[in-house]
Amino acid sequence: MSYHAWILLILYLVLLLSLVKPLGIYIANVMEGQGIAPRLGRWVENALYRLCGINASEEMGWLKYAFAILLFNLIGILAVYALQRLQSWLPLNPQAMANVSPDSSFNTAISFATNTNWQGYSGESTMSYLTQMLGLTVQNFFSAATGIVVVIALIRGFSRHTANIIGNAWVDITRITLYVLLPLSFIFAIFLVSQGVIQNFDSYKDVTTLEVTHYDNPKLDTAGQPLKDEKGNPVTEPATTQVQTLAMGPVASQEAIKMLGTNGGGFFNANSAHPYENPTPLSNFVQMLSIFLIPGALCLTFGRMVGDTRQGWAVLAAMTLMFVVMAVVAMHFEQQGNPLLARLGVDMSAGNMEGKETRFGIADSGLFATITTLASCGAVNATHDSFMPMGGFVPLWNMMLGEVVFGGVGSGLYGMLVFAVMAVFIAGLMIGRTPEYLGKKIEAFEMKMVSIAILVTPLLVLACTAVAVIAVDGIAGIANPGAHGFSEILYTFTSAANNNGSAFAGISANTPFYNGMTAIAMWFGRFGVIVPVLALAGALAAKKRIAVTSGTMPTHGLMFITLLIGTVLLVGALNYVPALALGPVIEHLMLFGVH
């Protein structure tokens, strides 16, 4: 790893860790309706509640809270589906984009509502500006808000005692949207425009290029499908053009919440590698910061709300340690470069540049890939499919940890707290005491919910992958031969079930088979965790608080941090070791051993 990469990583950590505390405390205050923002916004809030018939002072039990969240998300899915199916007749569609197919619309609707933002489509050739704004940008806000309010409800489960209510879902969603996501996105969007991200409603711009481009144009049959010769190769004819059409759109406003809400769905197909989404190394660095900003801050929100900041720092420390290790591995292997190309006489000192942008190079791409997959963001500034085998192993492994190392906004912390309960349970078994966490006894019901929340994603990933590798339609999507092709399928379902959304994007996933399968994985990967987590919140809130004694295991020291990391690695990721051995590990051995 280069000297420059180390400096970049250290600077990143320093800036991140100095920002999380003030934001974390701000969020804790806002969610309790305290501080300057809720005072200034009270009239907007009250007007909204009046119009919606919401009684803000009436809190909900966990079941009602869960129904409210599910209902709100179902409406979102219907809205995004309808917008795509009707977009050709709706305004703000200067490129006259056609209505999107039913299976792709369904997949995208689930994808954006579950904070996955998996994309089977190419934004610039599929979605109207109205769909991008009113459908996708809105879901970027709402899915982020959903994740955050669920973790706030879980934290209330710890901080309250002998209570049967965990908050008002409508009030929580409104506050996190108005006072946290919206102002941060606004400032970030303007910054992005200053770097070169576009923000307009123009139709696409034609420019005359310096040189005439000669290329092979595929011939189409009368139905508009590409013609193939008898060997199955596409039939082409030579063509020339001196026109380049620049795709336009309201990008910055979507880009900002895409990163802050750990959504990751790009306005364009190339996502954050596209110069109009991520034009400069500075915009790239701030995008990386914005991914971890809220997930990191929520650890401190947690510490604040349970009345012991050290608890929050302990969880954040466990996350940070795992992050640093994975970042170093990714940057190291990408810097190595491809030995097959070196043999052709290529100077590989710049590292593995296939699928990377010149302005980012190895350090900024490797770090970005680590961050975007540890957080369930899924934005990419380089194509993970073209990473070196062990460089591509990192994003895959990161997602397999269950998106709990920083993770998605809210979802990362509730996932990590579930692992924390598992950790104290294991510790309790070892010393023969009833486990407790933050003054709450962990009993049978809690452990059932924890087990469901932990096991649902590995089950989805491995079952869906197994189906895809034996189904004709599954294998048909593979782009790369050999072990890498298996990795593409494994990556697809790991990404979907863990609600990440990045891809080994060579795979042709915009087919009814993959659109359907990934939609199932995304939906259950999201709400199959949220519902047990809310049940856990309800059960914890109802418990009495027990006093700290000399026999209580402290959950803020080095021992707990070690135990937590061990639990995440053993329980979370060990499920996948055989699958990983068939994918990136074999590929690495073939590249450096056989060749």
């Binding site: 400069t280 190394p281 591509g392």
Partner: protein, 190 residues
């Protein structure tokens, strides 16, 4: 649970109006007022006509121009309405073949060169629209362009140096040259 339906629907509609209409509209108004050039795509003009964007690369294959990163967008390279990379894995034979073909094209255009080829000049970018190459990739092409244009290599090296952007504050990104701006400057030399 019937009492949840009205709040869910009406809150959805109202927050959609705020985050999906008012917010993008407000960002657009401010961006277009204060930062019109970048918000509209950083378009470059020559003789009053738009000839490209500072941020979006163009295809160059003639010996007299600096060539950019290989682009695998379809159907033509540098198609700015179909961004994307090759997604070829490191062991994929198609990747090795593609790189071989690019090396052959570079050598055919400059048969006397025997220097190792900088990797960014023969590997496809992630967006297919990468506007930059490394300074090493620019210097590699000097002999070819000098011969095609009858210019001295020194003059070209000076031009590259003038167009090289370093790491921001020594920290962020990689040193790079904007290919379109460099070629425009090249056309400007009499």
């Amino acid at each position: 649970m019937k009492d949840l339906l009205r709040p869910a629907l009406s809150l959805f509609v109202l927050l959609t109006a705020i985050t999906g209409l008012a917010y993008p509209a407000a960002v657009t108004v401010i961006a277009q007022t204060l930062l019109h050039d970048t918000a509209s795509g950083s378009v470059l003009f020559r003789d009053g006509k738009p000839i490209g964007s500072r941020l979006i690369g163009q295809n160059f294959a003639e010996p007299k121009y600096f060539w950019g990163r290989p682009s695998v967008t379809l159907p033509q390279p540098y198609n700015a309405t179909a961004s994307g990379g090759s997604n070829q894995g490191p062991l994929n034979p198609a990747l090795v073949d593609a790189v071989k073909a690019r090396i052959d094209a570079l050598k055919a255009a400059d048969p006397n060169s025997h220097k190792p080829i900088p990797t960014d000049l023969v590997t496809a970018s992630a967006s297919g629209l990468d506007p930059h190459i490394s300074p090493a990739a620019a210097h590699y092409q000097v002999a070819r362009i000098a011969a095609a244009r009858g210019l001295s290599p020194d003059k070209l090296n000076t031009l590259i140096a003038a167009h090289t952007e370093d790491r921001l504050w020594g920290l962020f990104g990689e040193p790079r040259v904007n290919v379109l701006e460099l070629n425009l400057a090249l056309d400007g030399i009499r």
